[in-house]
């Protein structure tokens, strides 16, 4: 599973493209895994996952073919 990682999350996770070999089926599972593996993510104001360029809640399922992004707190504008 390949993740696109942005902003401060990229600094924390060590890269803008992260490949996970774990078996993950939902956004909730992915978030739990990331928070566990990269504890500094817990210090952020928010952490949201986007699946195929749409914000996704925990129950959304994820597949190998999906485009998945790790979205730390936004600060555009």
């Amino acid at each position: 599973m390949n993740l696109k990682v942005f902003g401060v999350a990229r600094d924390i996770m060590g890269g803008g493209e992260i490949a996970l070999t774990d078996s993950i089926h939902s956004v909730g599972e992915l978030k739990a895994l990331l928070l566990n593996r990269y504890p500094k993510l817990k210090e952020l104001n928010s952490l949201v996952i986007a699946v195929n360029q749409k914000y996704a809640s925990d129950e959304v399922s994820v597949a190998e073919t999906d485009e998945i992004a790790v979205i730390p707190p936004v600060s555009g504008g």
């Binding site: 104001n45 986007a50 992004a69 707190p73 936004v74 504008g77």
Partner: protein
């Protein structure tokens, strides 16, 4: 027009794109880079975007604005890359028949962009840098 660009924004072009002969008002918001934040001197900002999703999210925001107010035209341009104080980071232009709608829609759009669109900025100070809004502010307790 929804544009994410690494080049300096052509503000007049954004205005001209939004303008319409049917509009009595064109409202323009220009977001600029400040030279200080919390009494710290800002050397520059670094902006980055999840570009494809940012464009999609801005499109949804425009759709919502068009649903709530009658718009004659609109245009949004957001810059990415390294921006120095004084440079233009974002321009939102909205045209409407009357000024009330143009003010309201323009504010709605920029507020929603700031809340939802996957774009991030990092402030670079003398001796440090920080991603804006990433962490809760430090609270120092004195005993």
């Amino acid at each position: 027009m929804i544009k994410i660009t690494a080049k300096p924004i052509d503000v007049q072009k954004v205005i001209d794109t939004a303008s319409s002969l049917g509009a009595g008002a064109v409202n323009v918001f220009i977001g600029t880079v400040r030279d200080s934040v919390h009494n710290k001197h800002v050397r520059w900002l670094e902006y980055e975007a999840y570009e494809s999703m940012a464009v999609a999210e801005i499109r949804m925001i425009i759709d919502e604005a068009a649903h709530r107010w009658q718009l004659q035209g609109w245009a949004v341009s957001h810059r990415v890359g390294t921006l120095k104080p004084g440079e233009v980071a974002v321009v939102v232009a909205v045209a409407a028949v009357h000024r009330k709608e143009s003010f309201e829609a323009c504010q709605f759009i920029i507020d929603a962009i700031k809340a939802k669109v996957p774009i991030w900025k990092k402030e670079v100070f003398e001796g440090g840098e920080a991603w804006v809004s990433a962490n809760p502010p430090l609270v120092i307790h004195s005993n």
